[in-house]
């Protein structure tokens, strides 16, 4: 709750909400005070039906819980972020970075130390991603280490420093060959206190410096805004400044001068140092800005660059600056795991959907209560209660529910936030740039107040709408408990005539009317005209056109999608109306119109939401090409998920009678169900609106759960090493190898290729790949596809020449293969054995084939890396999946020779397949020990994605569990509809009992009715989810490993929960005494 909304501060927002809620509650209370009887009626009704009150309260409490959890989770994320940033920056209040001269540093420090606002200041060296370390204990090498060179005086600036054991440490204690390492180094690189590391700058060719780890710090350090605002985790090696400066002096590529000046203001530390209204911090910043001609980094580059001087106003600006912080946004997790994308993009939408489901349940319960009290409501109207009296009484009752539910939901919501944070804290890391911020519970009072108010307001709004609807009940029908009369559909001409002429009765006699009656009559006619125009199509289409025109120049694409959805809806309604004018039977016209709308929404929803769905669900976003990082708003996400589903539900509900008839026909042949084969199915077909609502609710939850689970589990299976690398687990990176001194690596080729013989216990195979030419200035590969598109390889800058070992042994399944090739193996063998053939990785959006049996096509490859080199043609006969580790073209050495290319020796990569049962670390250790790779500065990279898979699985479980709570809403809503059916059909139940239906048969009839709706919901939701997951997966691979067992379990569990919820009302129906029920007739 630290961000702003509509330009209001959180405090202002919360107070405004409180004022609005308080005002509404006061109005309701005031009206109640003016008529205490209505007040009493409302309050006593709360406690009247305890079971239903409890169910309503559970639904509302859950809704309030989700609202609170939504505010609370964001609050906790934001607060955790602030705490983490403050920990990382220590007591440093301001900093300035850049490439300085020693004289500048000395002068600035001298001035700063004399400023009355400054307690301490010092210069440090900060070099992001500058070094590589090799651990002698683990034999693992790690590149891209962040280096800090700190003087002893940095203790006075940074403040208290603790290690991961909680012990105080001092930078001043570091000896020339001692280092501290940050918590990320310990966690991700398995470095411990006492380890000996070989430290070397990335671009340094001299001998490594052996250092000892004196302590693992409790946190990472960060004194620059790029690192702080990225909220990442950084593998940092902290050395004495003198050591770094001496190494810099040896390398000749680093100036031996501090590049960051850090300042601590006078104060107790933390945010206190900036002084009231920044009185201490601002003069320091002013001085630094003026002295260095520096400005804050408006572009927020990460990592910090030193080409220009940047001012870092750390406290309070950087410490507290944020939008809505998420520990997953903008991190490698977002790219690597679909679950992370779903968490970031869909969690707010899930929350909105669950809150909406809770409120819908509340509306259904209100209507159920109204059905139960129908005669009372009718009588109340008969004896003189106006409609607003009924609304008032229901609002008072609603206030009771709202206050109780919002208050309890607040407590539960805070509990849920704590639970969510505990679960999220246990999610393993997805990648090196993941955020490892310690999450802790921190819900602000503004968040709590806003949650309470939003919950209460939403509930009161639902009560008000349903109460207004209920108050329109027909008095006579209500008193006599008759079915409400069907609303007659008036013709346009009649409505217009009655609007402009004085009213007459059917005998054409003029009707007298008071002014109030004329006003209400004409208002009602205008409303009816609008409504009839809408449900017949024209007004709906007009609304669509208007909305489209108004939003055409705006960025809100969901508004345009809504306008097209309105146009489709209007078109279907118009067709239905026109058909009835052509004397087509109403039922058929309705079926055709609604089916058209349903189909239209389904197709349009998928078509328009395709990119967004791919972003949220694709296992690897590289498949999407240029559209990978669309910043989707929650309404857009909501729309892309809801529209196809609502279309499906409409399609199902408009044709459900056909299914019902078929089912009834089949059930007639089951002896025990034959008597209920009609009664159990007739009602769902009759009350389609309410059953449609329940179906939409339940199928929505099932759709989302199955989509998330099926897609993510399938993604995990796709990311198996068999698929991504063809079963090679270790890599020596050719680019890193090329950066080393050639003298050290020239003779390495033979021993590496011999490892399957020399290290046969660990290594099964080794394969070698290299760039076909120097890729740095080469012309791009061109494809002979429509438009002759340029092939922009996603992960490698040029084609790879792969050896025969790889081509013979890879297990990588192709995304698609060309016509005439019966298996993937046949394709690999052809690439190996015949010159002029190649495979390349599939990338979306450039016109590559997506179906098996495509016609082989030509690709033009430059002969060399020269920007003017001629193109040579190869035939592409297969496409690698988009999640393949190598994002480029593969061809063999034979093909390389056939196109006349000179073998290019730089950038050679090696890949190792391990013997079964050998772990990656075991193989890496052996390779290091036997070949001395570490001494040469050669790193072994693991290609196994176990951690990423565990991360995806954990987040998927979190999302599915979150959504599963919504299942309760779906199940409750079906239970409420069944309860309402029992209330409304009391006399009919009595009649059935009189006709000879046993209690069991009555119960079975109701259960069959509920089962029909539940089954339809499960089928609609899961089939749509399966189809979408299949479509998304097929963007990356031909096979779709559908997690059938998990899905079947989910569906069975959902069915059971929903049926169990309908059992009590069905039992109640079976216990209706026939004589009493019939007496009402």
């Amino acid at each position: 709750m630290n961000n702003t909304l509509f330009g209001w501060s959180p405090t202002m927002f919360a107070l405004l909400l409180a004022a609005l809620t308080g005002g509404i509650l006061l109005v309701v209370l005031g009206l109640g005070a003016s008529n205490t009887l209505i007040w009493r009626m409302g309050l006593r009704n709360v406690a009247r039906r305890r079971g239903q009150t409890l169910m309503m309260l559970i639904g509302l409490i859950l809704a309030a819980t989700f609202i609170t959890a939504s505010f609370g989770l964001q609050d906790s994320f934001n607060q955790s972020m602030v705490v983490d940033r403050l920990m990382k920056m220590g007591n440093v209040d301001e900093a300035v970075s850049g490439t300085f001269t020693q004289a500048q540093v000395n002068e600035a420090l001298a001035h700063l130390q004399h400023m009355p606002q400054v307690q301490a200041a010092t210069g440090i060296v900060y070099l992001p991603r500058a070094a590589r370390i090799f651990s002698e204990r683990t034999a693992l090498s790690n590149a891209d280490q962040y280096v800090y060179g700190v003087p002893p005086s940095f203790d006075q600036v940074y403040g208290p420093l603790t290690d991961n054991q909680g012990r105080r440490r001092h930078f001043a204690d570091l000896g020339p060959r001692d280092v501290f390492v940050s918590s990320t180094v310990a966690r991700d690189e398995d470095v411990r206190a006492g380890d000996r590391l070989q430290f070397v700058f990335e671009e340094q060719s001299n001998e490594a410096l052996t250092v000892t780890v004196r302590a693992v710090l409790a946190t990472d350090l960060a004194v620059t805004d790029g690192e702080l605002e990225f909220d990442g985790s950084y593998p940092e090696i902290i050395l004495p400044l003198s050591t770094v400066l001496s190494l810099s002096a040896q390398t000749h590529f680093l100036a031996p001068v501090p590049n960051v000046i850090c300042v601590k203001n006078v104060g107790r530390g933390g945010l206190d140092d900036t002084g009231p209204n920044g009185t201490r911090g601002q003069p320091v910043l002013d001085y630094l800005a003026q002295f260095f001609h520096a400005a804050p980094d408006a572009r927020g580059f990460f990592p910090t660059y030193f080409d220009s001087v940047i001012l870092h106003p750390l406290k309070p600006q950087i410490a507290e600056s944020q939008g809505n912080f998420s520990p997953l946004d903008n991190k490698s997790d977002f790219v690597a795991s679909p679950a992370a994308r779903q968490f970031s993009l869909m969690l707010p939408v899930f929350t909105a959907l669950l809150v909406g489901a809770g409120l819908l349940l509340q509306a259904l319960l209100c209507l159920l209560l109204a059905a139960e009290r129908r005669a009372e409501l009718g009588m109340s109207r008969a004896i003189g209660l106006q409609r607003f009296h009924l609304v008032q009484a229901l609002l008072v009752e609603g206030c009771g529910y709202a206050v109780i539910a919002s208050s309890l939901g607040l407590l539960l919501g805070v509990g849920v936030v704590a639970l969510e944070l505990a679960v999220l804290s246990r999610v393993p890391a997805a990648g090196t740039l993941s955020s490892h911020i310690a999450l802790h519970l921190a819900v602000s009072w503004q968040g709590l107040l806003a949650s309470w108010c939003v919950s209460a307001l939403a509930m009161l709004a639902v009560v008000f709408i349903t109460a207004t609807w209920i108050s329109r009940t027909n008095i006579v029908s209500a008193i006599r408990d008759l079915d409400d009369p069907l609303p007659a559909r008036a013709s346009f001409s009649m409505l217009i005539r009655s609007l402009v002429t004085a009213p007459r009765d059917t005998a054409n006699e003029p009707l007298p009317e008071t002014f109030a009656r004329r006003l209400t009559r004409q208002s009602a006619i205008i409303g009816l005209l609008l409504w009839e125009s809408f449900i017949r199509g024209p007004l709906c289409m007009l609304a669509g056109v208007l909305l489209f025109t108004l939003t055409a120049r705006q960025d809100e694409t969901w508004m345009q999608q809504l306008s097209v959805a309105l146009l489709i809806g209007g078109g279907g309604l118009l067709l239905s109306w026109l058909l009835t004018l052509l004397r087509v039977p109403d039922a058929l016209a309705g079926r055709l119109g609604l089916s058209l709308i349903g189909l239209g929404w389904l197709v349009y929803g998928i078509w328009t939401g395709k990119n967004l769905l791919l972003i949220m669900f694709a296992s690897d976003v590289s498949v999407l090409g240029a559209h990978a990082y669309v910043d989707a708003s929650p309404p857009e996400v909501l729309f892309s998920l809801l529209l196809p589903l609502v279309g499906t539900v409409l399609l199902v509900m408009s044709n459900v009678d056909l299914l019902g008839r078929l089912l009834a026909f089949l059930l007639r042949h089951v002896r025990s169900l034959a008597p209920v084969s009609r009664t159990g199915l007739a009602y769902p077909l009759t009350f389609r609106f309410r059953n449609g609502v329940a179906l939409a609710l339940l199928s929505l939850i099932i759709f989302l759960v199955i989509l998330v689970v099926a897609n993510n589990l399938s993604s995990i299976q796709q990311s198996s090493i068999q698929t991504t690398t063809g079963n090679f687990q270790l890599e020596i990176d050719g680019v890193e190898l090329d950066a080393l001194d050639p003298a050290h690596t020239t003779n390495l080729n033979a021993p590496l290729l011999a490892t399957p013989r020399t290290l046969r216990q660990e290594i099964a195979l080794v394969t070698r790949m290299r760039f076909a030419y120097d890729p740095h200035h080469a012309r791009p590969i061109r494809l002979s596809l429509p438009g002759n598109p340029m092939y922009t390889s996603t992960k490698s800058p040029g084609p790879f020449v792969v050896d025969d070992t790889f081509l013979s042994n890879t297990t990588m399944p192709l995304f698609v293969r060309a016509r005439g090739y019966g298996s993937d193996r046949q394709v690999w063998d052809t690439v190996r054995d015949r010159a002029g053939y190649a495979v390349l990785q599939y990338i979306g959006n450039i016109g590559l084939p997506t179906i098996q049996g495509f016609a082989p096509f030509m690709a033009s490859v430059p002969q060399t890396g020269d920007p003017h080199a001629p193109y040579r043609r190869v035939t592409v006969i297969g496409l690698l999946p988009s999640n393949a580790y190598w994002g480029t073209m593969f061809f063999s050495e034979k093909t390389e020779a056939s196109i006349g290319a000179t073998p290019y020796d730089r950038f050679t990569f090696y890949y190792f397949r391990l013997q079964p049962g050998v772990s990656v670390s075991q193989a890496a250790s052996t390779l290091n020990n036997e070949l001395g790779l570490n001494r040469l500065g050669i790193a072994l990279n693991s290609l196994v994605q176990d951690t990423l898979d565990a991360y995806t699985a954990s987040l998927t479980l979190f999302l599915a569990s979150y959504l599963a709570m919504g299942l309760l809403f779906g199940a409750f809503s079906i239970s409420v509809i069944t309860s309402r059916a029992v209330v409304e059909r009391r006399q009919q139940i009595g009649m059935l009992r009189a006709l000879g239906f046993s209690r069991g048969l009555v119960q079975r009839s109701f259960l069959l009715e509920a089962s029909f709706v539940i089954t339809l919901s499960l089928l609609a939701g899961s089939l749509l989810a399966w189809w979408l997951a299949y479509q998304i997966t097929s963007q990356a691979a031909q096979t779709f490993p559908f997690p059938l067992g998990t899905v079947v379990l989910l569906l069975a569990g959902s069915y059971l929960v929903a049926v169990l919820c309908t059992a009590p009302p069905a039992r109640r129906a079976s216990r209706v005494p026939p004589a009493e029920a019939l007496r009402y007739e």
Partner: protein
């Protein structure tokens, strides 16, 4: 139409209810049901009119249309000289609260309110101050002889007691007419007669107009006028000689109280 009927249809200054050529058609889309086919009648102030007829003849529809609970398809309905077709829903509701009382077969008391609160309700929604509403409600309950039961909720009362409270509620606003649809339909014969006696005594003491819809001849014949309906039309409309003599109101109260003390079973 008989001469006697013709005289009853003639409008006079003392007419409480005036209906001329009332039609009511229920249109279900495919089917049109004519429930009333041009009913005309006048009810004078202080009359007790019983409407009888077989099921489906339109007697309840007539009561609903005359009382403004339902709209007419054609025809004129005037209550106390005012054409109720001219009213908006809000005006009609206020008019009903002011001028009419209702008694139904199933009592239709609000179960969450006590007997006293049920009687107070129409007064409060008519804008009567809470203090006066309480006093008038108590007086109304006293008239039906159930003051001791004022704090009880309907679920704790017998059928007869509930119907008495329903009558008290109908009387509370001091209406000029009370519509009663099968007021004794759910009661045993003894209680049935007590309710009839109560209504007749109120009629006599306060010149209240009562319109009863009933199936029961023994109820109908105690009215001062009997309208018989068939197929949506008035078949016969005649004055009865005299209502059965009713015991004094105080006596009725005493006898009710005595039965209660003897442990009458709740329905």
């Amino acid at each position: 139409m008989t001469v006697k009927q013709a005289s009853l249809l003639t409008s006079t200054d003392t007419d409480q209810v005036e209906a001329i050529g009332v039609y009511k058609t229920y249109d279900t889309g495919k089917l049109k049901v004519e429930a009333l086919k041009g009913v005309s009648l006048h009810i004078r102030r202080g009359e007790v009119v019983a409407i009888m007829g077989p099921s489906g003849c339109g007697k309840t529809t007539l009561l609903n249309c005359l009382s403004g609970l339902d709209s007419v398809t054609a025809g004129v309905v005037k209550i106390a000289g005012q054409d109720i077709r001219a009213f908006s829903d809000r005006e009609l509701t206020a008019f009903r609260a002011r001028e009419m009382g209702f008694v139904f077969q199933t009592y239709n008391l609000l179960p969450v309110l006590t007997g006293l609160e049920n009687v107070e309700l129409p007064l409060l929604v008519s804008g009567v101050s809470p203090g006066e509403a309480r006093a008038r409600a108590r007086a109304s309950i006293e008239r039906v002889g159930l003051l001791d039961w004022a704090r009880h909720r309907p679920a704790e009362m017998s059928g007869g007691q509930r119907q008495r409270f329903a009558i008290a509620r109908a009387l509370a606003t001091m209406p000029s007419i009370v519509w009663a649809d099968e007021p004794t339909g759910a009661l045993d014969s003894t209680t049935n007669q007590e309710i009839i006696d109560l209504m007749l005594s109120l009629n006599r003491e306060h010149s209240l107009t009562f319109v009863w819809v009933t199936h029961a001849l023994e109820v109908a014949r105690q009215a001062s006028r009997l309208i018989t309906m068939r197929d949506g039309q008035i078949e016969e409309d005649r004055r009865l000689l005299a209502a059965r003599s009713v015991p004094d109101t105080q006596e009725t109260r005493l006898s009710t109280g005595a039965r209660r003390e003897n442990g009458e079973q709740h329905e």
